[in-house]
């Protein structure tokens, strides 16, 4: 056992877009000692799985006049009238958020969007192009102009590789396959983290002046999900256990087109390029639910429409739990050029070539709107008043700024991770250069974490970790899914608490120290159980329907009572203590409206 304490000025946990942007930017601003820890190799991060695009009002293309909402796009000739603006992007995002997004923060994101896209391009990111050589753009759900900037259907992949290369160029130190188990906050200021080095199994403390969490989302709490194995919400659970609040956790996005039974993503770009959703009768049912936008309505609305079709017996496949995504009319050339990965995935995983047959899909848990509350510079706040937790930053899906409110628009997540990652990098640099100090620690926080792992390995309980995880996912999907009501949520809460109890007797099978992924899976499952309670508690208390939170017993949005963010702190007895925070609204510019598409 080693008791060596490692020290860095800045420790960033997570190496997707947000964490890597922050690291690269801080290094660029002259912070010498930036370390990025990831439980994976950085290039395995889930940002790389994003497909369809990244939003920014670049005004490179426009719809061909007179061809309607599904018509072709063309490049905007130099000097012609523009079709898009950051204001329009801002309004679309606010409406998409069902008026739960903070409007001042959304404004920051959509303005920064344009500049960060050009920065990506200047760093060598390989974007698809218009004939005259500008970045190509396509339509996306809930956006009223074609502003999804893309690289075929691998946009996240090219962005992730580009920013990782830049971080290497700037001398950022990476710790691949170092798992963070614990965050140390004393007297409202951050002291460091406790890590488990996967290769050796050594548990050590890393002390730092600043810590940033960029650990991604929490979709693995659900049975059908587009998320990677890694997306177990470690960051939200660890921060919550360490005393930081979580915000708006009840808002979980179900993406309308997960591959049937697998849940892996069939990009929204399929519909952006003109794909249809059809039920077992061959009806284009979206015209019933969103007469204007149809398939390109926001994700919450499309997923609910699909679920309604399924619940009313119009689903496809033998169990009736599927819907068809039909791309055949796009033709082979467009599919091969614009959606090559989608075609490959459909062939590999469903045995269906989308050129010939429709793809069976179903809604899939996809994106976590909730997370650790921050300001626009990634600074984590401790309460509704905005008191900062000194030295603690967060960005990307683990954070809740909030720009997505109750429902995120497609292509706004790559944007959020990039913009707020970069802003956090600047804020961290200001913090370090402003004379931040390395603060002392009380006791040996590594020791209590060693005991947790020892108990998992050597205790005498007999509970199987995977069984607990599967039961959790079942109840979260059945009782806290696309539609929810009081009885279901109470059931989910009881189930989660019972599973938390059972987890106390959980034991791993692998007793070795070296590369013990069995222990990691157990720690991840503990995290799922921790934050799932917060999701359910928030959902139970929120007696309205807004964005992705759809209560069958409270089907209407209630702005009077509920236009506010849920804030959850872990109380003494371990249960979430809920309070609420006002949404920032520019009443003169974007007052709440009925949300129709």
């Amino acid at each position: 056992m080693t008791n060596d304490v490692i020290i860095h000025d800045v420790v960033i946990v997570g190496a997707g877009l947000a964490g890597t942007w922050a690291a690269m930017t801080a290094a660029q601003q002259g912070v010498k000692d930036v370390a990025v820890l990831s439980k994976l190799h950085p290039l395995r991060s889930h940002s790389g799985a994003a497909q369809g695009g990244i939003a920014a009002a670049l005004n490179n293309v426009r719809p061909v006049a007179g061809t309607g909402p599904r018509g072709p796009l063309e490049q905007i000739p130099e000097g012609d009238e523009l079709v898009d603006s950051w204001e329009l992007h801002m309004f679309d995002t606010i409406k998409g958020s069902d008026w739960l997004g903070d409007q001042d923060k959304i404004e920051v994101m959509v303005k920064d969007a344009i500049d960060i896209l050009y920065q990506y391009e200047h760093m060598g990111c390989v974007f698809s192009r218009t004939p005259d050589g500008r970045i190509a753009q396509r339509r996306f759900g809930g956006h009223s102009a074609p502003r999804a900037n893309y690289s075929a259907d691998r946009t996240g992949h090219v962005l992730l590789h580009t920013i990782h290369e830049q971080a290497l160029k700037h001398g950022v130190k990476f710790y691949p396959e170092w798992y963070v188990m614990d965050l140390i906050i004393e007297d409202n200021s951050v002291r460091g983290v406790v890590t488990l080095e996967v290769l050796t199994g050594e548990i050590r403390t890393i002390r730092a002046k600043a810590v940033m969490f960029a650990t991604g989302g929490y979709g693995r709490a659900f049975k059908i999900t587009s998320n990677a194995f890694a997306n177990t919400g470690d960051g939200v659970a660890i921060a919550y256990d360490a005393g930081a609040p979580l915000m708006d956790m009840e808002f979980v996005q179900f993406h309308p087109t997960g591959l049937y039974r697998h849940g892996i993503l069939m990009s929204e770009a399929c519909r952006g390029e003109g794909g249809y959703l059809i039920n077992k009768d061959g009806d284009h049912f979206m015209k019933k639910y969103a007469p204007d936008k149809m398939e390109l309505a926001p994700r919450d609305l499309v997923s609910r429409s699909e679920q309604t079709e399924i619940n009313e017996g119009r689903g496809v496949m033998e169990d009736g739990q599927g819907i068809y995504l039909d791309l055949r009319h796009l033709g082979a050339e467009k599919i091969m050029k614009r959606l090559p990965q989608i075609r490959e995935l459909a062939i590999n995983f469903a045995g269906v070539d989308p050129i010939e047959e429709p793809i069976p899909i179903q809604p899939t848990a996809h994106y976590s709107m909730g997370g650790i509350p921050t300001d626009v510079d990634g600074q984590v706040i401790a309460d509704a008043e905005g008191t900062p937790i000194v030295g603690f930053f967060a960005g990307g899906e683990v954070a809740c700024v909030s720009v997505h409110g109750a429902n995120r628009l497609g292509t706004n997540s790559l944007l959020e991770a990039s913009v707020f990652g970069r802003r956090a990098g600047h804020a961290i640099a200001r913090f370090i250069k402003g004379g931040a100090e390395l603060l002392p620690l009380t006791g040996d926080p590594a020791e209590r974490n060693r005991r947790i792992v020892a108990e998992l390995m050597d205790g005498d309980g007999r509970e199987n970790v995977e069984d607990i995880a599967q039961e959790l996912k079942s109840t979260m999907t059945q009782n806290c899914g696309i539609y929810r009501n009081e009885a279901q949520l109470k059931k989910a809460l009881n189930d989660v608490k019972a599973l938390q109890e059972r987890f106390k007797s959980a034991r791993v099978m692998d007793r070795s120290k070296r590369f013990n992924t069995d222990v990691l899976a157990a720690l991840e499952t503990k995290h799922l159980l921790t934050f799932s309670e917060v999701i359910v508690a928030g959902a139970l208390n929120r007696t309205e329907s807004r964005g992705a939170h759809a209560r069958t017993d409270y089907p209407k949005r209630d702005d009077e009572a509920w236009m506010k963010h849920t804030i959850a702190h872990k109380s003494e007895d371990g249960t979430p203590r809920l309070s609420y925070k006002e949404v920032t609204v520019f009443w003169d510019r974007f007052p709440p409206q009925e949300r129709k598409y």
Binding site: L40, A228, F229, H262, N348, F349, T517, D518
Partner: protein, 261 residues
């Protein structure tokens, strides 16, 4: 194991090895019930979570984009998450899974990719931009971008690297993955250092080490062709100065619209 002969069960043979405790690797068998649509990764997950938690492998995205789960399945390097289990079952009802070859084993199917990443770093994978940065994007034609797709799509899984017989003998060789990255940068009209890159990869550990055995093409789960990229780099290295001059000329016009024919 009476289930062995049954159509519903597959014998999954996994190479087990923990260098801290084992003298040498061994194959261990597990019986897995074959379910519809099951991938090799699903089978490994089933084994790990319910048969033997000590079986160790990497995985994350489960749809062929993160590159974690490259391994050797029935003698072929590929991604476990994209490989249907039923397609791999031999006439005796068996599937054999080993770690990627030519690399040190950390534990079971987990290999040490240190040299792989060192070579990636060696080619300086980042873009070296020209001096004049436009206010908006650099202009590139769809054709120029098309040429980059044959390299940009690489997920750095290591299937090619550990199928390469040259790597098997000589870890100083830059390797197909890093040469493909070099190809991406050399071909990118925005890159201002193609000459230095070509000089480096034309050295002793570079493109001339490739024996054109084509293993990398067979191994690539993304259908890429590193051998062809290496061939292209060899040709460009031979006319390096001309290529550099052409690049300098192209970079005079990077802010101008591509003229549409």
């Amino acid at each position: 194991m009476s289930q062995n002969g049954s159509n519903n069960f597959v014998t999954v043979r996994i190479q087990r090895y923990n260098p801290e405790v084992d003298k040498k690797p061994r194959l261990q068998e597990y019986q897995v019930k074959l379910k519809a649509g099951m991938t090799v990764l699903d089978a490994l997950h089933e084994i790990k979570t319910h048969h033997d938690g000590s079986v160790t492998f990497r995985r994350s995205c489960r749809h062929g984009i993160c590159g974690s789960c490259a391994m050797n399945i029935n003698g072929r390097n590929t991604l476990a998450c994209e490989t249907p289990l039923k397609d791999e079952v031999d006439s005796r009802g068996r599937v054999t899974i080993r770690p990627l070859p030519y690399l040190p084993v950390i534990k079971d199917l987990v290999v040490d990719r240190t040299t792989f990443w060192e070579q990636y770093l060696r080619v300086k994978p980042w873009l070296v931009p020209p001096d004049n940065i436009p206010e908006k994007e650099f202009r590139m034609s769809p054709e120029e971008v098309e040429a980059l797709h044959s390299a940009e799509t690489c997920i750095m899984c290591g299937a090619c690297y550990s199928s390469c017989t040259v790597i098997g003998l000589n870890k100083r060789y830059i390797g197909p993955h890093a040469l493909l990255k070099a190809f991406l940068r050399v071909l990118d009209p925005r890159d201002a250092a193609p000459g230095e890159r070509l000089a480096d990869i034309a050295g002793a550990d570079g493109v001339y080490r490739c024996h054109t055995v084509f293993n990398c093409i067979d191994a690539c789960p993304k259908g890429l062709n590193p051998t062809q990229a290496i061939e292209t780099l060899r040709k460009l290295a031979q006319k390096r100065q001309k290529f550099e001059a052409a690049r300098r000329e192209r970079q005079q016009h990077l802010s101008e619209p591509i003229s549409v024919k």
